[in-house]
Subunit: 209 residues, 2 copies
Amino acid sequence: MAVRPRSPRGEGERLRATLLDVATEMLAEVNDIDRLSIRAVTARAGVSPSALYMHFADKDELVDAIKQRCFNALREWVADAGADAGDPRARLFAMGKAYLAFAREQPGWYAVCFQTRFGELREDNLPPARDTEDADALVFLDLMDAVGAVIEASEEELFEISTVIWTALHGRASLLQAMPVCPLPDEDRWLARLALVLIGPEPGGAGGL
Amino acid sequence: MAVRPRSPRGEGERLRATLLDVATEMLAEVNDIDRLSIRAVTARAGVSPSALYMHFADKDELVDAIKQRCFNALREWVADAGADAGDPRARLFAMGKAYLAFAREQPGWYAVCFQTRFGELREDNLPPARDTEDADALVFLDLMDAVGAVIEASEEELFEISTVIWTALHGRASLLQAMPVCPLPDEDRWLARLALVLIGPEPGGAGGL
DNA sequence: TGTACATCAGTGAACGCGCGTTCACTGATGTAC
DNA sequence: TGTACATCAGTGAACGCGCGTTCACTGATGTAC
């Protein structure tokens, strides 16, 4: 790959951004974080492998940074889709479709969000705090807000219904990635079915079914 | 590891079974198929790495065989749980719980079923054929039967509802593995919520909520 | 019954590979005196 | 104004590692004549 000109003095942080750009771009090509090597990323950035260690302590730190980026991308993707919609119900629908579209069109990014495994289990079973900065919690809170705009329900009910929606969305997205052979009904029908049973029929309609 | 006595003449297939046993056992320990190497498996089996090639063309073939085993284990696990239950509704519940329990207690086996990626997308959106031998399809058909025993519905409705249940189950299982930090309501409440909205309230009860 | 041969279930050494990481270093640029 | 020095943004060679796979082989056992 092309050699990269050295950053001017005092702007060493530029390389960090470049490396993340390159890594994210490559992840969209290979679709699997395990196939991204430090050597491949630095090579494409036009820099020696060891240069990466000026900005990341090790590979884990790089992967964590990539993961943050991908979660933010997911959140924006869904939020953008929701912003265009008129009423709350259409908005929730649009967000659901956008969630599935993100997983379908950026499988590598989606996978890195949810495929890394085995952290600590949480003790409680409560919604995430409103002031969280965890990218994954923010995605969920956006969804919960969208559900809350559609139905009247207690905070607890809202939480539970939202988790069912989220797990179903993730389940569909993940199953289609994992085993594209597996038969699932058409996305719109499936979403309509999910919505119908979870948030009730559209006033004056059959919910699209 | 201990050296394995050579199989008697004509019983070379024994090693194949041994290798699969060992590989499945190790998968339950490391929980990630990518961390299972041919060298590690053959070492634990007490055999040289090259011996594996007498029974599997390459690593992919080994992984496929492991995957079949794990799907069958999942299916049995769920079926066994369902067999003990009395009425159809309790049976469906027990199967749902068993599905989640399998994913929780055998994360490596569960993951290998659903984590391998990027086959061909199916053209249609129809239920799997009744005479299929695909392990994944059989798991789904069992579920569909259990749902069918609970509610009156057309074959098409049954299919769609079952896919929502399956995607939700897989979504919950997968999210808990991928990000144990993520908050989900208690399993029983979540299942009850899922059942309530999908198959209607228990006759004469509040569905456990 | 003896013996040559084929088959079977493996072995063991070697291959080339790409990986993450370390470490001594370089050369340009800014700063202190 | 000149020069010694510190700092910064990297380089480049090397490390040890475990991996999947190949290939020529071995030694026990069965079979044909």
